[in-house]
Symmetry: C2
Subunit: 333 residues, 2 copies
């Protein structure tokens, strides 16, 4: 079995250390954090690569939508740090059969979605590839008042929350795999949109970081069952979630999916997963603005590092299996 | 014939405009320039993508060397702005047959070369690809005293210079293509090193930017005959170069190459091309430190925008043909 992405990342993280005092956080979070000398704010930098057939399928989308999704994924990483998007670069490799029109529409999608969240395209690179499209984006944001939320700030007793609904994007992917990408059913349309054109939770991330309530945060890109252990590992804690509390996408059952399975293991929700001190979660919930995406309490952080439990029907407690997406052990599209 | 990379970039540059006042320079130079609010320095951001079979051949190098070259290419873009390297992210896609060892050695090369120039790895992304390795790096540097040199500052009458020697990397590529990658001849070793493990001209770039002598600058990545027109286009001028003045790699003739052709059209020299006001070039040459890579006067900028002339043997003046590397019309490796 190949080494997991987690393991390899950990290895690289331990192998290289940065010593520049302007660096507040290097490898190992959703994004790196820099404090440019004398700058009013911290600057946050994140990079993501999308490879055709692994991360997307060119037949299942149009270039404009692919551009929109590509930038959304990166802005979601900024949101997870509580940072406000500002700038990004994009490097794009396309095989010779991809027409200029495709490249331009891709950039149109990228820039229109970026602009919605205040991010400007500032540069990049165009390259050729032999067969598949490859997209690499680096996004840069600002942490207002230098308030950044890391993955590592959680403690036992903190209450775990997620924004929005989980599993909706995975339901959309299932529809695409089954050739139902043109379905007009409104629930299908919602799932397809969640998969093709997700919205990063920038407003929520900013509010959560500024509020001072949040101890740790990350975005959900590979599925809760993969990402929750990452948050807990960074914070040196365990967790217990209540499956019945998960904000599932119930309509997934229309297409023969178990909504709970999708909520736990489906990737690319790009919702925020975060924690609030147990003593403060009441005041937090009162303060959280109704205009932001809904939040749901899904569990608590626990003392035993790395022990991630799920409480299911009839109060049965089980270890949560990591069944989300791993670039090195899964095939997705 | 496919649209050239130049044309497509120009189209994208004109299509999208950024309005953030913290952005000093967006698409269209070697790197973008940001002034974070209150920051002491400007920050410079550049991205480059390298695709196997187009930009490199995995058989012709070892992962450590490929890592070294990948970061060097990006640092060269920072050097071209006069910026000092600080941080970078790397996104890497590898096919399943590439072992973890390869990935680690690639990162080792990246970080050891980055460290030589003061740049720390701060994050990135690991991904799978079906067949080819793809590398995407974003590097961030600081412009000390906010002194940045753009491509656009040149005027007619400015004297053109290059650092180092031109065509050495192209000679190395030729040796690799002909299966002579293990040659022990010392000139071959020099050419192979120039191709596999180039040094970005960071020290020279910094000095040139701080000196105040330089009106415009870029790095030579696609060959002088491709890059000089870019510098001139950005500055709205033409140029006339003297072929006999070019600092060619004369030993290329040992392998049946014309050193002048390599100097004009060979890519990946990663030397700096820059201009100095005609009235100041004497004092500039006196001030330029002997400890930095040698510089050579190769010509002047002229009034007629876009007219790039080469003066050859017997004082014959010809238009310089663009025969360097274009990602969209050439095949390199």
């Amino acid at each position: 079995m190949p080494t997991s992405e987690n393991k390899l990342l950990k290895l690289l993280q331990n192998r290289y250390s940065a010593r520049n005092p302007q660096l507040k956080k290097g490898i190992g979070d959703d994004a790196a954090v820099i404090h440019p000398r004398n700058a009013a704010e911290f600057w946050v930098v994140t990079s993501d690569m999308l490879v055709e057939t692994v991360d997307f399928n060119r037949e299942w989308t149009v270039p404009r939508m692919l551009g929109r999704k590509s930038i959304a994924i990166n802005l979601s990483d900024l949101a997870a740090m509580g940072a406000t998007p500002r700038f990004y670069t994009v490097s794009l490799a396309t095989p010779a059969e991809v027409p200029d029109r495709w490249i331009i529409e891709f950039h149109d999608g990228l820039t229109e979605k970026g602009a919605l969240f205040g991010a400007d395209l500032i540069g990049g690179d165009l390259s050729r590839s032999e067969k598949h499209v490859v997209i690499s984006i680096t996004a840069v944001g600002e942490s207002l008042n230098r308030k950044v939320v890391y993955r590592s700030g959680g403690s036992a007793g903190d209450v775990l929350y997620v924004t929005g609904e989980l599993g909706c994007s995975a339901a959309g992917l299932k529809l695409l795999r089954e050739g139902l990408g043109r379905s007009r059913n409104r629930f299908a349309a919602k799932a397809l949109r969640a998969h093709r054109d997700p919205d990063p939770r920038c407003d929520a991330g900013l509010w959560l970081a500024q509020s001072g309530f949040v101890s740790c945060m990350m975005d959900l890109s590979d599925g809760l069952s993969m990402d929750l252990p990452r948050l807990c590992a960074a914070s040196g804690v365990g967790a217990e979630i209540r499956v019945s509390n998960l904000p599932v996408f119930a309509k997934a059952s229309l297409w023969g999916c178990d909504p709970v399975v999708l909520a736990l293991n489906g990737g690319e929700d790009f919702e925020l997963l975060f924690a609030v001190r147990g003593s403060r979660n009441g005041s937090f919930e009162k303060a959280y603005p109704a205009t932001l995406p809904k939040i749901t309490r899904i569990g608590v952080m626990t003392r035993e590092a790395g022990k991630i439990m799920a409480v299911g029907p009839n109060e049965i407690r089980r270890r949560l299996a990591e069944r989300g997406f791993d670039h090195f052990t899964s095939r997705k599209q």
